[in-house]
Amino acid sequence: MTDTVKRILFYSIIVAVALAAPSVAPDYRTQMAFLWVMVVFALTWDILGGQMGYNSFGNILFFGVGMYVCAVIQRDSGLGYYPALFLGMGAGALVAVVFAAIFGAGILGLRGHYFAICTLGLGIAAGEFASGWDYIGAGSGMVTPIFPGEAGGREKFFYYVMFALAVITFPVLRWLYSGRFGLALNAIRDDEDKAEAMGIHTTRYKTTAWCISAFFLGLTGAVVGNMIGFIDPRDVAFAGPTFGVWMVLMAILGGKGTLWGPVLGAVVFHVTQEVFWTYLLGWQRVALGLLIVLIVVFFPLGILGWARERWPERFGHVVEEKPAARATE
């Protein structure tokens, strides 16, 4: 009983802090909004990368697709700002899911390593196509409509939208992981042949998992496009070297295959990045590569995984809701 009280208290503190944050520190609204973007990035990458053991380097595809679809609807639908925005978000998520279903049916029947390299190509191919297609502005990109509210209201509005998105993503994933779906994903990660022999439709589960990932990434893309205000095909929408790599890094940094791990990884990474990154003077991306190698080779469990190894009894109540995570050991 006390556990439940503790948990409710814990969640309400997070929500309260997050709700108050933009009013307390108005100058950092955009950075804080990006914190939630990072949380969604890491959580959605972890569905495949952690829970299912399928490294995807091309999840950025769905992010970019959502962003472009939303921007096109905002440009061409002729509706007011808010209806167009929300319609665009919905459509962006939908198109992203369709993409995931089509590609997933095609390549998720293959084993993990083929999938990993295929997605590596997918994200970049999308960027190349987008920067050659005139309908969506080709290489010069697209500009999203101007926010109708007062100055500074834009950052606040999108902060809350992004926060809401992260807050929805988390319990949805928690619910999915706690049921049959999560068990099926973990079974695929642990031994796919056996899982299939036990009667799990592995390809169907894998594709569904990717679609869920795509859904939230599509929504996030639509929001981020409007938050930044300018869509560049290679540097914003299909930004493989930044966002695409960060997703992977954050999830494995926090501890892949756990629910809180990606969240923790996203927070640690984003805060570190905002505070220290500028001192690296252009060497950030070098550091990024180095960090991935170091984490994968020397620290594969991630922060949460390591802490759980270290103090298993202390972690009992925090990790409790993740039966999936225990299967790693």
Partner: protein, 312 residues
């Protein structure tokens, strides 16, 4: 990235296809250019197949080795030496680099599963690519070899001699590697380890050394290929990934350990890329490479599904 001389963006796709039919000699030009590139692709792909087969590691940093080899040749050229000497030098430098990379990082992931090694080499690829960007600058470079141009069919088809030289050099390097694997003692140890690492260990083969040599050898081949790329076309810090993807594509089409098929697939890919660059415009050539990978994998899945008779 190889860009066909004839590929032009302002042509529409239909125009380009019509042009190909009206002037068949253009196809000869494209085919020749593409196949000459293809030998270099095949070389890098063979290295990937070697590492994959022996160590069960898919090296995503493969293209970065090519890029680094290219820079070795370029700096030699910048120092006033003919870039042709860059081929052996790049091979030696990259062999040492690959060896030390194995001794520091790769040996920790060899016996882990493929997911770990893919993630680790993915990080390595970003690290090397960005390091090259910081150290050498993002400029596009080339090492002028000073070779002339061959003219065929009354001047309708031109072939840069350096491409021909690179083609022959790539084949020769591949042949040398094959000879090494077949004849030398280390080569035989490598093949034994590929067949069964445990049995090889029992028979007294130091598999750790074999792995280090394999990884170094792979880096050396890629380095040599990179030197050829620097002489024939251009190099820049970001050219790695397309080479990784091409190598991977060639390996999955040809299969592990089938040398002839690797060569044929490499030449075919080179030609296909060049035709696509001409038909869709040079700006879509990179997209074509990545798109082709997706298509090949999808096709492979449906083909495998048809072949499937029992569960492993």
């Amino acid at each position: 990235m190889p860009v066909s001389k004839t590929g032009r963006g302002d042509f529409s796709t239909m125009d380009s296809i019509q042009l190909l039919f009206q002037a068949p000699v253009l196809s000869v030009q494209l085919l020749l250019d593409g196949m000459l590139i293809g030998a270099i692709f095949a070389l890098a792909a063979y290295g990937m197949a070697l590492v994959w087969g022996v160590m069960n590691v898919i090296n995503i940093a493969q293209g970065e080795f090519v890029m680094l080899g290219g820079y070795v040749a370029f700096f030699l050229y910048a120092a006033g030496v003919h870039p042709f000497f860059g081929i052996p030098l790049a091979a030696v430098v990259l062999f040492l680099f690959g060896w030390s990379l194995y001794k520091t990082i790769i040996f920790r992931i060899v016996d882990k599963d493929l997911f770990i090694s893919i993630l680790a080499t993915f990080g390595l690829s970003i690290l090397l690519q960005q390091l090259a960007n910081e150290l050498f600058g993002a400029d596009v470079r080339t090492a002028e070899s000073g070779f002339g141009t061959l003219v065929l069919f009354d001047g309708q088809v031109t072939v840069a001699e350096i491409k021909l030289v690179a083609f022959i050099a790539a084949l020769a390097l591949g042949g040398l590697l094959l000879l090494f694997l077949k004849q030398s003692r280390l080569g035989q140890a490598i093949r034994a380890t590929a067949q069964n690492a445990r049995a090889a260990r029992i028979m007294g083969i130091d598999t750790d050394r074999v792995y280090a040599a394999t990884f170094g050898l792979n880096a050396a081949i890629c380095g040599a290929a990179g030197a050829l790329v620097a002489m024939t076309w251009i190099i820049h810090p970001y050219l790695g990934l397309p080479y990784t993807i091409r190598s991977f594509m060639i390996v999955i089409v040809a299969g592990l350990g089938n040398v002839a098929a690797v060569l044929v697939a490499g030449l075919g890919l080179g030609a296909a890329e060049n035709f696509a660059g001409f038909i869709f415009g040079a700006e879509y050539q990179a997209a074509f490479v990545f798109g082709l990978l997706v298509i090949i994998l999808m096709w492979r899945r449906f083909w495998l599904n048809r072949q499937r008779r029992y569960l492993k």
